[in-house]
Amino acid sequence: MEVVLAFTIGGLVTGAVYMLLSRNLLRLLFGVIILSNAVNLSIFLAGGLDYGVPPLIQGADKVLEGTYANPLPQALILTAIVIGFSLLAFALVLVYRGWQDMGTIDGDALRVAEPVETTPALEAAARARKHGRETA
């Protein structure tokens, strides 16, 4: 099953990256959801796949014996899922606020931080240099 899952994860990453590259921020977030699933599955796969043997200590045993699934990746993924959800919710609200304030969910149209014109800092630097040259 490992090989099958590895290729499946590759497919998930392909879809996720394709959506991450879209200009629509909602699609981008959908890409994030798929990517986080793909990453969780990757961790799971790297820890080894075992069918039907959960890491639970049975009855009178005091230690896990025989074949059992690797518990550490599971612990890591479990918390990662919850965190992934929290961040998704946060990002979703960011997109929503962007829509409210700027009226677009086109990522390429969001130019508040980097307006199309040259920045004032660049202009100021050019001015200062020109000034220095003139007085020289």
Binding site: P54, L56, I57, L78, T79, V82, F85, S86, A89, V93
Partner: protein, 144 residues
């Protein structure tokens, strides 16, 4: 939507689901479950209430504001780690978050009731998950 029967019924159903989530939380140490899963189940239950009857109804059925629950959970989780630092063995004998257990044994030497700081910590996790998610849901529903 505002029928008394439906509302009472929902209240009952909600109570059952919250009880179930507590059960999942409690048994999590030995069976599948735990603070994360329990918290998520309770959060789903309250979210469904909010979707069906509005956010005000959800708030009425919550014992406290989501933010308060969130804070309490985080505080509990942090405090649970302090037992090791100030507890038996002297100050700073063990690192922060090392576990401490109280275990009662039956007369035959069988292990009986056991409670430890990891359980407190798990309850903290449970509360943070509920509080965090419901804060989001409430914020979104009030805003939208």
């Amino acid at each position: 939507m505002h029928s008394l029967i439906l509302r009472t019924g929902t209240r009952l159903l909600l109570a059952l689901m919250v009880l179930f989530s507590l059960f999942i939380l409690w048994r999590g140490h030995n069976e599948p479950g735990g603070g994360f899963i329990g918290g998520l189940i309770a959060a789903v239950a309250y979210s469904l209430v909010a979707l069906s009857f509005g956010v005000a109804e959800m708030r009425r059925m919550l014992p406290a504001d989501p933010k308060t629950i969130l804070g309490a959970g985080l505080a509990l989780a942090i405090v649970s780690g302090l037992f090791a630092v100030v507890g038996q063995g002297g100050l700073l004998a063990d690192p922060y978050m090392a576990s401490r257990w109280y275990i009662s044994y039956t007369e035959t030497g069988e292990k009986g009731f056991a409670i430890g700081t990891p359980v407190l910590f798990d309850i903290g996790v449970y509360l943070v998950v509920i509080g965090g998610i419901l804060a989001m849901v409430r914020g979104l529903m009030e805003e939208l």
